[in-house]
Assembly symmetry: C2
Homo-oligomer: 289 residues x 2
């Protein structure tokens, strides 16, 4: 694989051992070296070089709570726990992600996942009491029942079914024009990755799959998935589409996938963006075929 | 790999398309064929053959809510949403799991994860209102803010660091006497599987890891993890243990792992049980070495 999956490659040390030491984190936040991620809503504000914009903690803005992202060498990095007023549209930021450096995308994605999780988890699921940020932003604790809550990461399988040298691509109604991608779905309680791949391919496309092979993974910060990319063998190429999930699907051959990844105008479909692991998966399949 | 990972291999069709059709599920629950998983607390009650015990829905007990597990051929299977009064000790059921058939363990594990999730998520994390079961037990909905909540699955990496033909095994304080196992930790927001493996090995043991290879996965119903098993190369065998996580750790050679997996009395450690993916991982490593 030539390019690592999107949203990976952060060089920041998460410094987990500091999260339980609030006085140490407060010291770091008070130091002149500390930097605060600049956001517009949940989206990054870029500096003049096109990298993530960082501000000082001397002016903490509206008194927002802080999330400790970790240490970049000697530099403590924080993100503000912005209050989300409107439900953000993830696709609004996709244009910006086309050019953001991988390590910047990884760090911003971490902050985005955490901020959105805090916003949606202000109350204790166990007893209904309002919770408070703890562990330097990596959890919330309940003053009512003492439950501790940790940021949710939802595992999602995303997969290419392969048959006779072609792979199955599907289209969801919300995709941009011409876009097709790998099928995907949440891993449910009580199933392995391999079982989730087989179940989703059958539910969405009527495909009986076997020989599931893991390829790669990425965090996907919309809002907080762990994408687990696989390839599986399809027993047949007959499709029975679930119209609730897919608007269309087709089997793409190697030449078609190569053309789409190259962005050719006459490619049979528009490929997913480079920062989506479906792109990684298609690139891997083309190279391995 | 000779034996599939524990808690996999259920032959039950989850029948996702029925979950959004409450009248269909009610019909299935009312049918004479429907069966209700028999539980004692969260643990399975076995039948005379040592398989999962099933009762009739004609006597639904204390009016418990139902979780639709799916269809076993023509047979609709349900689990009762038992109320958990005391925090269950997972290890109490480990003896029983030694002999439970894999497909039974998989089905029971699914039910256990769902029941425990419902018990701990009776209130809306978004607004604090009491929520109600929906989607036939595969979610909860909020009458206050209309948020929909879905069962949580926490991805966990579990890994063998490999160095010079040996693998790193650690011991947590709560383990039974002599038990050592693969190191493990939760995947955090903003990291891939491969990054989580590297971070955990460094945090827990001071190991710099590279070349992370995926091996296998399993659902782990205590209470609801997705275990993702990997092997990685360690740059050195020098250990710096995090005493909060590990009581001890050592490098096991192939002969030692083979002896432990065989249950030899003079093995250098007691292996994890066959239904834990650490057992799968060690078996895979021995076979591949």
């Amino acid at each position: 694989m030539t390019r690592p999956p999107g949203f990976t490659g952060s060089r920041v040390d998460r410094a987990d051992h500091l999260r339980n030491a609030p006085e140490r984190v407060a010291e770091l936040a008070a130091s002149l070296r500390a930097r605060l991620l600049r956001l517009s809503g949940l989206d990054p504000m870029l500096d003049e070089k096109g990298g993530l914009g960082w501000g000082s903690l001397a002016e903490p803005g509206e008194g927002a709570e802080l999330i400790f992202l970790g240490l970049d060498g000697e530099t403590p990095l924080f993100a503000p726990l912005t209050l989300i007023r409107a439900r953000p549209n993830p696709r609004a930021v996709f244009g910006l992600l086309e050019t953001l450096a991988p390590e910047d995308a990884a760090l911003w994605g971490t902050a985005r996942s955490l901020i959105e999780w805090h916003n949606r988890h202000r109350f204790c699921a166990n007893c209904g009491t309002a919770t408070a940020l703890f562990r330097a932003g990596w959890g919330r604790s309940c003053p009512g029942c003492q439950a501790e809550h940790f940021p949710r990461v939802d595992p999602v399988v995303i997969m290419l079914a392969e048959h006779d040298g072609r792979v199955l691509l599907g289209r969801q109604p919300l995709y941009p024009p011409g876009r097709y991608s790998a099928l995907a779905g949440f891993v449910e309680p009580g199933e392995s990755i391999e079982e989730a791949v087989a179940r989703e391919l059958f539910e969405e496309a009527g495909i009986r799959a076997s020989n599931v092979r893991y390829v790669a993974s990425q965090p996907w910060p919309f809002p907080g998935s762990l994408m687990i990319a696989c390839i599986a063998d399809a027993a047949s190429d007959a499709l029975t589409l679930d119209a609730n999930e897919l608007e269309d699907a087709f089997w793409a051959d190697r030449a078609g996938v190569i053309a789409a990844l190259a962005g050719d105008a006459d490619a049979p479909f528009v490929a997913p963006p480079h920062f989506a692991i479906a792109h990684t998966l298609l690139t891997h399949w083309v190279a391995a075929a």
